[in-house]
């Protein structure tokens, strides 16, 4: 058998809301909603477990959340704080995993196949990660452990909050059989209802289909559905899916006509981009300017420099890119600056103690 991978999916429990409850004792034990104002058009970005009891969930319009629980506390998100915490938890991940693939601020896949701690027991590693996160951030995470990303992600959702759920290779097929189709990652409500119409309600139903038929009904995704129904998901945890570009953009409160004002905005965006580049120790060669006009049509203009860009160069190139658009003539709604074409050095392979062939431990 090929090498058995060990994948952990970590998902912070009610992340934004938990951070707010951690930092402000008066929010603890109360229904808390992070997101827009109750009377505005925003949506719920996160809500505390107390709020979930009222049927509130993330992505729900705030007005609806307010109707469900008028006594809920509404707070605006503090992304800077969440990002800081996110850095902290990622530092924990890197302590144990050889590959870390963040999906968002509060969620990541970890490949611990080569981790030696706890003699390679992914379950114990997951426990240690949860403990480290708790002691370093006072926040609770749920972990899913399995041999591929698909199952690890489902596992992390199994006994939230503060969950640790393991799907061992020999349990996988039985587990998938009993799983309702909507729980599959990548099967949204639309696909779910389409499947239901075809009589597919559980993993077992899905597995009964052959690959060609699934592809016929669901296109390319059919291949994926076929494989996951058999517990197969070869997608690697890719921390090397390093960012291909760094960009910042801003949508104006009111459309802007003045080319000078746009240049100022572009300059300040380029400063933010530069800061990110520096903090990530990246060097880029290509500069791209994105302009969205008031009528929502969008253009990008880019230029590739023959050596690594610095802030001075970026600022000197931006007016040239801006001149290649219709900005100044047509009002502009959004402007964005990004850089790409990073210098990629081959990653250094870590030393690794090889194991005697005593048999694998999961």
């Amino acid at each position: 058998m090929a090498h058995q991978r060990k994948i952990i999916h970590i998902d912070m429990d009610a992340f934004f809301a938990s951070v707010e409850q951690r930092d402000k004792s008066e929010f603890r034990g109360k229904p808390l909603i992070v997101g827009g104002k109750p009377n505005a058009r925003g949506v719920v970005a996160a809500c505390s477990y107390e709020a979930r009891k009222f049927g509130i969930h993330s992505a729900m319009p705030c007005s609806q959340a307010y109707r469900l629980c008028p006594s809920a506390i509404f707070v605006p998100p503090r992304f800077n704080v969440y990002r800081e915490v996110s850095e902290q938890i990622r530092a924990v991940f890197w302590r144990y995993a050889s590959e870390v693939e963040p999906l968002s601020l509060d969620e990541a896949y970890l490949d611990v196949s080569y981790t030696q701690d706890f003699n390679g027991s992914a379950t114990y590693i997951a426990k240690a990660i949860k403990n480290d996160i708790l002691s370093e951030t006072q926040l609770v995470a749920s972990a899913g452990v399995s041999y591929n990303k698909f199952l690890a992600k489902i596992a992390s959702d199994m006994d939230k909050p503060d969950g640790l759920y393991v799907i061992k290779p020999d349990q996988a097929l039985a587990f998938i059989e009993g799983l309702s189709i909507g729980k599959f990652h990548g099967i949204g409500p639309a696909t779910e209802s389409k499947m239901n119409k075809l009589g597919i309600h559980t993993g077992a139903d899905l597995r009964a289909w052959n690959e060609q038929d699934l592809v016929k009904y669901f296109g390319k995704s059919g291949h994926h559905f076929f494989h996951i129904s058999h517990g197969i998901d070869e997608r690697a945890v890719q921390s090397t899916r390093k960012r291909k570009s760094v960009g910042k953009e801003t949508t104006f409160q009111q459309d802007i006509q003045s080319i000078l004002a746009l240049r100022d905005h572009a300059n300040s965006l380029s400063e933010q981009v530069w800061e990110t580049l520096q903090s990530q120790k990246l060097t880029a060669k290509t500069l791209t300017l994105k302009v969205k006009y008031a009528n929502f049509t969008q253009v990008t203009r880019s230029i590739t420099h023959d050596s690594a860009l610095d802030l001075m160069t970026i600022k000197s190139l931006l007016p040239r890119l801006l001149n290649r658009t219709e900005a100044g003539g047509i009002a502009v709604r959004l402007i964005g600056v990004s850089v790409s074409g990073f210098d990629t050095k081959p990653a250094k392979k870590a030393k690794q103690q090889l194991a005697l062939g005593l048999g694998n431990v999961f």
């Binding site: 706890f118 003699n119 027991s121 379950t123 114990y124 392979k349 030393k351 690794q352 103690q353 090889l354 194991a355 005697l356 062939g357 005593l358 048999g359 431990v361």
Partner: protein
């Protein structure tokens, strides 16, 4: 119960008995030892529910009976008294009175009926051998035991009986140590037990290098070790030890003979600079040359060259240096034989003249 005893004669056995008492016992009774007098003897018993140790010593018994006292307090008191002191111990109601000269201590006791009884066992195999032989066998192998491994059956030492051989095997999954000795009796059927790590370490402390006999006996659930004045039992690890034969490498074609002392010294010096988690050392083999290189994260380096007997192909391979040093420490012989095959396969190390009675296997590191 009442007895008197000299400080000198009680401290040593008391220390041994107290050594297995957990510092943070789960049940109060487990932090005590049971004292019993009968005839002109005192027996002291301690247990952690896995191990049980019973020491016997002659005392002047004034009144037979039994009592439990805090192991730590009683030991500390006895130890702190002068060597020539005569200690008098008297237990009454729920107090124990310890007196010596002008010192008086009143200790609380727990009901002695609450002290866990040891389970009887049906011992099927009994071996009598010199203490020094058993001690060597443990010293040669026990360092490779795993500790707190999720593969619980590795957190101990495999003792295997086959014909007139007693074999000990330990592995932590990265390296393996095997030792054996022959016994006077023979078993009909091959069988094996796994003795927990704590019992093995404790046993290593109890045994000395004398030729005095020690008796060990096996049952399905227990191992019993009898020393003069000391009786030691341990529960066994209930599990299946991996088939170690499978990882003993065969067919390595690169055979190196090295002087053990020189090799050990060279690797110890190189180890000074290794500071990473893996303590890696790179080994380069060439005709009659063994080169060890350590490069640390600060890019400092150590290089050691050693003349060895070697006529095979050149090889570069890396190991955890600590694993190599551990096994070299366990080999007292003058020369060692190392058989390599390639940089991804384990090395087999034995004393040069050994007929495979002692074998050490270490997996390399990938650099």
């Amino acid at each position: 119960m009442q007895f008197t005893v000299s400080q000198e004669s009680i401290v040593r056995p008391l220390q041994l008995v107290c050594s297995i008492v957990e510092r943070r016992a789960t049940l109060p009774i487990l932090s005590t030892i049971l004292l019993r007098t009968h005839g002109q003897q005192l027996t002291m018993t301690s247990t952690d529910m896995e191990l049980e140790m019973i020491a016997t010593l002659p005392v002047a018994v004034e009144q037979e009976g039994k009592a439990t006292v805090s192991a730590r307090k009683f030991l500390d008191i006895c130890r702190a008294l002068p060597a020539n002191a005569t200690i008098s111990f008297q237990a009454q109601d729920n107090k124990a009175l310890v007196r010596a000269g002008k010192s008086r201590f009143s200790l609380s006791t727990l009901p002695s009926e609450d002290f866990p009884d040891s389970e009887g066992a049906h011992y099927t195999d009994e071996i009598s051998l010199p203490q020094s032989a058993l001690k060597s066998l443990l010293d040669e192998t026990s360092f490779a035991m795993a500790s707190q491994d999720v593969r619980y059956y590795l957190n101990g030492l495999l003792l295997e009986r086959e014909d007139n051989i007693l074999r000990a095997v330990a592995t932590d999954g990265h390296r393996l140590a095997l030792g054996s000795l022959s016994t006077t009796n023979t078993v009909d059927k091959k069988n094996s037990i796994i003795v927990p790590r704590k019992a093995i370490l404790e046993l290593g402390r109890l045994l000395n290098d004398s030729s005095d006999n020690v008796t060990i006996a096996f049952s399905q659930q227990q191992i019993k070790v009898e020393l003069p004045d000391l009786h030691f039992t341990s529960k066994l690890i209930d599990g299946q030890f991996p088939n170690y034969q499978r990882v003993l490498p065969l067919g390595g074609d690169k055979e190196v003979i090295a002087e053990r002392d020189k090799l050990k010294e060279a690797l110890s010096r190189a180890a000074i600079l290794s500071n990473d988690k893996h303590r890696s050392v790179r080994i380069n083999l060439d005709t009659n040359l063994f080169k060890a290189t350590v490069i640390n994260q600060e890019q400092e380096s150590a290089e050691e060259e050693l003349v060895v007997e070697y006529s095979g192909a050149a090889l570069e391979i890396a190991f955890n240096n600590a694993y190599l040093l551990d096994l070299l420490n366990a080999i007292p012989d003058e020369k060692v034989k190392m058989i390599f095959s390639d940089d991804n396969s384990s090395v087999l190390i034995t004393p040069q003249d050994d007929k495979l009675e002692r074998q050490y296997v270490v997996m390399p590191m990938r650099l």
